[in-house]
């Protein structure tokens, strides 16, 4: 069975990290399986964890009164789910639900925050990499907001 450290090297967000940092990060993680429909996180709950999807798909959802749960994004293999663990007040902004059976690595965010405080180099590198994830998601969200499919040229 492969170690979490080995698995992390194949995840784009963690690939190429110094071996000692990978070891520190892996020390805060454990493997877990989620059944279809099971929640990885709930909006408003304390964000003490984040996830790396190894297999399956996770939906980020938000409840809208009268409209039910709206899926705003799905994330697949290799994706990071959650960055609220990095920023106060450390609360989830959305629900995260397994669309199908999901195998993920669950990380203890509070544990990792402590390690980042102790090792500023690790903290900077993780912040830089999570900022890249956030930038990608922000750009994708902007495209979604453009509603490009809804405004054809009249003719």
């Amino acid at each position: 069975m492969r170690s979490i450290e080995d698995l992390l090297q194949e995840i784009p967000t963690f690939a190429g990290l110094e071996p000692q940092w990978l070891e520190l990060i892996a020390g805060c993680g454990l493997n877990r399986t989620f059944a279809p429909g099971e929640h990885l996180a709930r909006e408003g709950d304390p964000a003490d964890t984040f996830f790396v999807i190894r297999h399956g798909r996770v939906a980020l959802e938000i409840g809208a009164p009268g409209a039910g749960d709206l899926m705003i994004e799905t994330l697949g293999e290799g994706a990071v789910v959650g960055w609220s663990w990095l920023f106060p007040p450390h609360r989830w902004s959305f629900d995260a639900r397994a669309v199908e059976q999901v195998r993920a690595i669950v990380f203890d965010g509070a544990c990792l925050r402590g390690k980042c405080d102790d090792d500023k180099g690790l903290g900077y590198e993780l912040m830089r990499r999570f900022a890249a994830v956030m930038l990608d998601r922000l750009q994708a969200t902007r495209l979604q907001l453009l509603d490009v499919y809804g405004k054809p040229v009249a003719g």
């Binding site: 899926m71 490009v148 499919y149 054809p152 003719g155």
Partner: protein, 296 residues
């Protein structure tokens, strides 16, 4: 151009000479609506046969016709049917203005005018032995559907075939029944994503560019056909470039306001080209310097 199709800058992908277009390019030929199928809330697929009893014109995947709603006006509409099938022509039309609305409302038996086919085509012949990656957004699936059907018919000559579709919501995806079949077809790798969905949707949610990174194709051997709103095509082209696809192998279908379709009116001029003649399918290498230029 409202519901139209693509052009081609690839000089090897020449436009098909249409007998009708060659004889009287500005004179519509009467066609009769055989069938009308609703695709989404505002989009219909019409099956048209010549009213004069002569055969329907042959076309190449990616070409378009000018459809005339008599007494209302004319609009460029992509041909969305199977290019290998003899017989009636299919057009998928979204009701967005007076002309396209009149065409969408045409019941079986109604006569419409038709000029064409016009424009260039997707370079399928150049795709032999390669991975064909089709990226379609919204109504863009209609102009590229003939290429997909032709590619499926020639699948053994291709290294791979990928279709990535993006839409606004699950209810606004075209060809829903056929999409189910494509999802089960081992010859095709299908990815479908929508901008927003309610719980119960089992596909992806997010912009279509997010599917490109993990799509199963070799960028060094890929030829990409991209069609959709121009913003979507711009970001898709960048994602394909980031993946390593050569600009000369990225083909786009330009959305332009075609009026005459025979380069006389200049309405579809795009830099030094006309979308109705060099286009609508053009390669990124050919038009990249104009792509994204505002007011062009």
């Amino acid at each position: 151009m409202a519901n139209r199709s693509p052009a081609e800058t690839d000089p090897t992908a020449s436009a098909v000479a249409s007998p009708g277009a060659a004889r009287a390019p500005m004179t519509p030929r009467p066609f009769r609506v055989l069938a009308r199928r609703q695709e989404t809330a505002d989009t219909w697929t019409l099956t048209l046969e010549p009213a004069d009893g002569a055969p329907a014109p042959r076309f190449e995947p990616g070409q378009f016709n000018m459809l005339y709603a008599f007494g209302v006006g004319e609009a460029p509409i992509s041909i969305s049917g199977d290019p290998d099938a003899d017989g009636p022509l299919e057009h998928t039309v979204r009701a967005v203005g007076p002309v396209s609305t009149a065409i969408c409302r045409a019941e079986p038996g109604t006569e419409l005018g038709l000029r064409g086919p016009f424009g260039s085509s997707w370079p399928l012949a150049a795709a032999a032995g390669r991975h064909v990656v089709i990226v379609a957004g919204g109504l863009g699936l209609a102009p590229v559907r003939p290429a997909l059907l032709a590619a499926l018919a020639r699948r053994e000559s291709l290294a791979g075939l990928v279709l990535l579709c993006g839409g606004r919501s699950p209810g606004e995806l075209l060809y829903a029944d056929q999409m189910v079949g494509w999802g089960q077809d081992p010859r095709l790798e299908l990815g479908v994503t929508v901008d927003a969905a309610e719980r119960g949707w089992s596909g992806h949610v997010g912009v279509v560019t997010t599917l490109i990174g993990a799509a199963p194709f070799d960028p060094a051997r890929a030829v990409a056909f991209v069609v959709g709103p121009e913003v979507m095509m711009r970001f898709t082209a960048q994602a394909l470039l980031d993946r390593g696809v050569d600009p000369a192998d990225i083909h786009l279908s330009l959305e332009r306001n075609m009026k005459c379709a025979v380069t006389q009116c200049g309405r579809c001029q795009f830099g030094p080209t006309f979308a109705c003649r060099e286009g609508p399918v053009m390669s990124l290498a050919a038009i990249g310097r104009f792509f994204g230029v505002r007011e062009l």
